[in-house]
Symmetry: D2
């Protein structure tokens, strides 16, 4: 009966879309919702979709998924691998891939809605399904909130969400308290002075400026953060120059920063700015660097009581050993904004998609980090089963904790 | 009478074309040649043009210009500034500008041909005018030679050429012996392993690898080359990554290297390769870097006797103080291939295009390198006069040394 | 009655001695033991002292202190500040200071022995007091074991020890499981080729080699260790050269590495070696670097059950809020060898020595790391009271858990 | 007859003395002068000696040598190798070696004085022999001038001097104009904040600050100096820290800078200061670095006319091919102060001390820089003959150009 979730997943995987461009994906979602007879609104927060199942009195449970893909060139070798290309915000043509599993997230949520819609007799309350765009920009949740998602739809009593992760398929990881770091994305433009590659003395070389800056940024984590704290300073991109023999006028860096809380955020941001400015000064730059914050993600903090409820239910349904505390993750999410702005508790968990045998072999060999493709890797490829089923079940089981 | 050289220059300046794409430029050239009644062949070495004036017995003088422009965004503020865009070999859309004066070189050569054609009675011999493409790739001369330019046209008894430079307009700089460095252009691809920006330990970060490599490459010139030797190691571009929070799998550097001779070339290339490989090893790279030589330019060596003839003629015509020995330049040229492969002597000189008052003020203030825009700068803007006239005269005067 | 512990502490503080040179300190200890009538042996593990109080049947409790000071020039401004100088293993004259509180450790142990000796009627069993040398070298515990301390004296049923830390005076910090990191001390010698400072090209400059190595070592913590793991790579010293204008032949680095366990140790050591070797290769070194392990410290792992007993007793005696779990420390200790080699459980705790008002002000201002002098700082200066008293009480209270 | 120059040289070589400590050397000199009956004064500029041969009317010719040795550990393996140790200005015990040939300079000057004294009948005028201390500190000439050497002795009509260099024994290198660079020696102290090696976040690590500074200083020569100019920025020493696990409060660098003239000096000094200050700022240093100029050496500029006279005389006496223009040297000297302050012309030349066969082999193999030990190398070892003889002759021949 119903939706062929495997086919739907493969279709989404073959047709990934970049952030705020998820129009085909939204179409797949709304077509499935229509088939299930679930009412929805499109275009919430640009390309988002919100569906509501009203089923009598009772709590309002938000189930949230994200929908967007990444500018990564897929190398999984799967027969349904993406060959898609897209246009990023700078206008550049880029490869696109569902390298973070959002296609699986959408699939699982549609599967859960189908199960909940089919079992209306067993529960009462309201389910709000939030298909959010642009999680990878850290911008989609804010866009939906700015578009009135918290006012136009029943406000949540609890916000539930889940994310694929490199755990064995079938496993769930969830922890009370801080589950994921806060994060900022910065763009740093270093201003030099261009000229001929053979006459460096007549220029202010932005490429050595960038290299020295990148090397110096390493010392923030290695020397300036308490070794017991969790912090990451990643330079995710560097771009400067067009040709061997022209020294360009500028270099541009994109930084991704991670920290457990807002106090750490302030300290690290101050250090990054200090390093960037001083390295420009060391080069004799005539103009200070430009630093722009592109996105800001809060820490993902799981409500203690609600997480305890969900964890207990998972253990009951999936077995004691299938549910672990994975520790804090250094990744970041914008799901928190829905909980923060509504005051509702949040429970956000991870579910595994890795072939359990591969995982076991890599664990035994101590090579998990090398052999198990992680999120954002061009080799990221969840096994279809039982990943789809466990994703569906986790949403249904947790929602039913509130819905009866 | 004749060609409006100022209008022709402005037209070329407004319509710059990237290397091996000089079709509109070649059209401007061939139209002018047709008007002057000088026979020519098009498409020599892809987009090159060769014109020949046969005028009785006597030496064969080659007058060579280049035609291509650069991926630079013009910022001169001139009312005839370029707003052109082109597509570079990687398929990227880039701004295009005549930031190295090849438009002026073409203009001067057409002006010289007009003068020589109009004064046939005064001299005898053969003039071969070579409008070469793709000097900026270091590839045009070789393309023309591969296309038979040395066999299909009268072989040179002397090869003459000139280049705009940041000297005061009206001045000539020429030196016997090594006038410009040898050069290589390399593309270095550093192979890491991509992943999520929050999990650097599961990746091999090619961006810190690139930064460390760039910093280390500086020590070749600062520590490993005799301070009395002339050598340059420029990283002209660095590109890696698409997004803040994805660590990419690769970083790509384009290097421009300069040295006075082939022995120095061998030493510096060995050092560059050593540094690049070791820095990849320091990162624990699983694959060694890929190093590709994109172009190789010989040193530009002026023939001693021929240069003496030309220098003497210039001093006689333009005045003692208008002709200087500018020292060796660290820029490079592919004009030498015509002389090397034919065995003819080469004389290659520089002529100034800077407003003499600006130059004098900057010299007095010790700020020439800062205030006088150099070749490849987005502010490169020769004054029209007497730059055009001196370029024309220099070609005519030097050619007539051989032609009588 | 008894020992004037304040006077004894001040005397020790004024006369600090470097590792394995603690002969005056051992004299102070043995004089006090003699006065108390407690039998002892000197010269155990070169400069160590072991005292034994036998008091009937019952468990054997080891109470361990360290005795050595550091090559730090005291800047506390105290009227009893050290002005001592010593000779380090290289033969260099260095300032010496009790910058890590071992003078306070000795004082507290002598105070505890006095209390235990005076209250023999209340308990039964054996107390072994171990005054260990050379903790700062990570070598004293091994020296005592090699000298038979585990065989020549009653073997421990439990090993207890304590360390001053920048907590408010009166507070105790103790945690079950891993309390302090494992650590290694390495000496890395980079081999270049010396020569005249004006002719770098005729040398292989070990100073740029060292600088590049130090910068690259930062990337181990910033890029290669899981951000959630605790690891430190400190270069504690760098020495090369004697004069401005001579490029030396060698540079020497001393590294201090920290990690939570032996698996992490193996990974980090491998990375350090990889970086050091590759950076030498990047310099074209003709000889690979020499890497010597100077000391190896195991992790300090508190026995779960024994720590629970001690923590409960501390809370009962000192108040709930005076006893905290301080988290894992990145410092290291060699006390573990006594427990590891004897198989006895270990409990090792920290006690505070900071003026509580200063601490409160700094905490409120968020400037603890800046304003509260930490161990090894030239400003390290515990307040005398109640630091001495709490140190004595903590030893007595914990020992009595076993002795009744 | 006379002095056994070989024995005298070997004696000096075995007993090298550091700058301003040349008392034994001065004793050897004065003993020889006494034996030759030449009047002298001792203690001029602390440890210098000045001898005067008055021989009737005529020009006053100054012949200058230096006397000091270097803190280098000799590794020549010669049976007369130095095993001496000295105490440097910081109080450290250091090895001492005549690694720059000043022992040979003294020997040659004594030999020349003996020849001139013995041939008084053949010439007339005055010879002033200046045995200068502390050339290696760049301080000896100024000390002698401050002590009145230009007033207390006949002022020069010409200043002549010579230096050993890695040319084949028998050869002379001399060039008109700039023969050696100007130079400064700086001491840079970087101020951090010390602490425990396991708690880098509570410190400001001066060792990463130093490493980043050293790497950045490389870009001055590689990016900011015209590749055609001669400039050197050498970090000759770096010192910080005493122990693996203490992060020190400071790091100290000694820099040796070289440039052809005073304008370049100003530019490079400004860049060095800019880099040093900015790198401290990048570390968040609470105190700016301290930069002290330890010595300043002028460029060594040979008077054109006087150099022509000397060169012609050398060619006549030693053969055309034995006298070359070696180009500008990047080493520096303080001999110029005598000429600058007196207004007399200077001629300063180099003479070779390398076994001609070794030199020829290394030249053929292209390994001169590697195989021929250069000044300041621990392997620097001139062959005794004809080095001694050519040094004596060069002084006599050049002096006789003025003395007749």
């Amino acid at each position: 009966m119903g939706i062929d979730l495997e086919a739907l997943y493969i279709d989404l995987h073959r047709h990934p879309e970049l952030s705020f461009q998820e129009t085909r994906t939204a179409g797949v979602v709304t077509r499935a919702l229509s088939e299930m007879g679930i009412p929805f609104e499109e275009g919430v927060g640009r390309t988002g979709v919100v569906a509501v199942i009203r089923n009598g009195d009772g709590p309002v449970v938000w189930l949230r998924t994200d929908m967007d893909a990444l500018p990564v060139e897929e190398r999984t070798g799967l027969d349904y691998a993406s060959t898609a290309r897209g246009v990023d915000p700078s206008g550049a043509a880029v490869p696109v891939m569902h390298a973070c599993g959002h296609d699986m997230h959408v699939t699982a949520l549609l599967g859960a809605l189908e199960r909940l819609a089919a079992s209306r007799a067993e529960w009462s309350g309201t389910v709000v399904a939030v298909f959010q765009p642009a999680e990878e920009f850290g911008a989609g949740a804010r866009a939906m909130i700015a578009d009135g998602v918290l006012e136009r739809f029943p406000a949540p009593d609890v916000v539930l969400g889940q994310h694929l992760t490199p755990l064995p398929a079938g496993m769930i990881g969830v922890r009370p308290g801080t589950q994921m770091s806060a994060s900022d994305g910065l763009t740093v433009t270093l201003h030099g002075r261009g000229g001929h590659g053979s006459r460096p003395h007549a220029t202010i070389d932005p490429i050595t400026m960038a290299a020295a800056t990148i090397m110096r940024l390493q010392t923030i984590v290695s020397r300036e953060v308490d070794p017991r704290d969790v912090a990451v300073v990643t330079v995710g991109s560097v771009h400067a120059g067009l040709k061997h023999n022209i020294i360009p006028a500028e270099a541009t860096l994109q930084l991704s920063l991670r920290y457990p809380d807002d106090a750490a955020r302030d300290r690290v941001l101050e250090k990054v700015e200090r390093v960037v400015r001083a390295e420009a000064a060391a080069s004799g730059a005539e103009q200070p660097p430009t630093i722009v914050t592109d996105h800001t993600l809060p820490p993902t903090i799981n409500d203690l009581a609600a997480t305890d409820r969900v964890t207990t239910a998972f253990r009951r349904e999936f077995g004691e050993h299938a549910v672990i505390d994975p520790g804090m993750f250094t990744g970041s999410e914008d799901v928190s904004w829905f909980a923060r702005d509504s005051g509702a508790p949040l429970v956000f968990w991870f579910w595994g998609g890795v072939d359990p045998e591969l995982f076991a072999r890599a664990t035994a060999a101590g090579t998990v980090d090398r052999d198990v493709p992680t999120n954002h890797s061009p080799f990221f490829a969840p096994v279809l089963h039982p990943t789809i089923e466990r994703g569906v079940e986790a949403l249904v089981v947790s929602a039913r904790e509130w819905l009866g």
